[in-house]
Amino acid sequence: MSSMKIFDIAGSGMNAQNLRLNLVASNISNANSVSSSIDQVYKSRQPVFAAELKNVLDEKNSAGGVNVLGVVESQAPPVMEYAPNHPMADENGYIYKPNVNTVEEMANMMSASRSYQNNIEVLNTAKQLMMQTLRMGQ
């Protein structure tokens, strides 16, 4: 039944937003993970979304969901802080803090949760319509 495709589409959207929320949680929880080396410091992680194109040549199935291509680490420089008394300080007295911008992450979280809710609404409406269709003629 082709109409079940809408559940796949909304499901892929929820999947993508769920991953985004997970990454936001990871970023925020690691926002204060101090490191003594610039290589080992936590870097902010962001998902990469792309539209599903697998059916684009098939003209009857041109509606597609979301694909998560992968997770990229932010290239922004980590925050250096001079704190010679800190137990994690390196030989020059610096500690390195992650390049996580908590304000950005909060906005990201709100956007992701709204998009998730949107997909849930689509799913609920589609489910109601399907149930009504099943009762057709009764």
Binding site: S2, S3, K5, I6, I9, A10, S12, G13, A16, Q17, R20, F49, A50, A51, V56, L57, E59, K60, S62, A63, G64, G65, V66, S111, A112, R114, S115, N118, N119, E121, V122, T125, A126, Q128, L129, Q132, T133, M136, G137
Partner: protein, 131 residues
């Protein structure tokens, strides 16, 4: 006199199919609300109906398997790209409020088509029972 479902139900099954396809498209738009460079698409119900009821549809002949169809035809109708009210920096043209409104509108119209079909079925049932 035989009962013919095609005559009895009229154009409503076709309308129901189109509504369902449109809901898929709008769901895809909403699912891709955060995808960079995604362009929101929609189905022009009027032109679909025109093509299905008349024979105005002209298609290009595909003589080999590798030939692509001109544009994305979808049940005989071209999908249209939506013009966003406000452009976004990442090239995405999905405006969630608009898509939500269209989706709600489409759901109501789907229910309307469903109700018409149910009405026709009830009419048939009444005719069969002869009460």
């Amino acid at each position: 006199m035989a009962i013919n479902f095609d005559n009895a139900l009229g154009m409503h099954p076709l309308a129901l199919t189109m509504r369902e396809k449109r809901s898929e498209l709008l769901a895809a738009n909403l699912a891709n609300a955060d995808t960079p460079d995604y362009k929101a698409r929609d189905l022009d119900f009027k032109s679909v109906l025109k093509q299905q009821s008349g024979n105005e549809h002209v298609s290009m002949e595909r003589t080999q398997v590798g030939h692509l169809s001109p544009g994305r035809e979808w049940l005989g109708a071209d999908l249209k790209y939506r013009n966003p009210g406000q452009a976004s920096l990442d090239g995405n043209t999905v405006e969630e409020h608009i898509e939500q409104a269209k989706y709600a509108e489409n759901a109501i119209q789907y229910q309307a088509s469903l109700r018409f079909i149910n009405g026709r079925f009830q009419g048939l049932m009444a005719a069969i029972r002869g009460e």
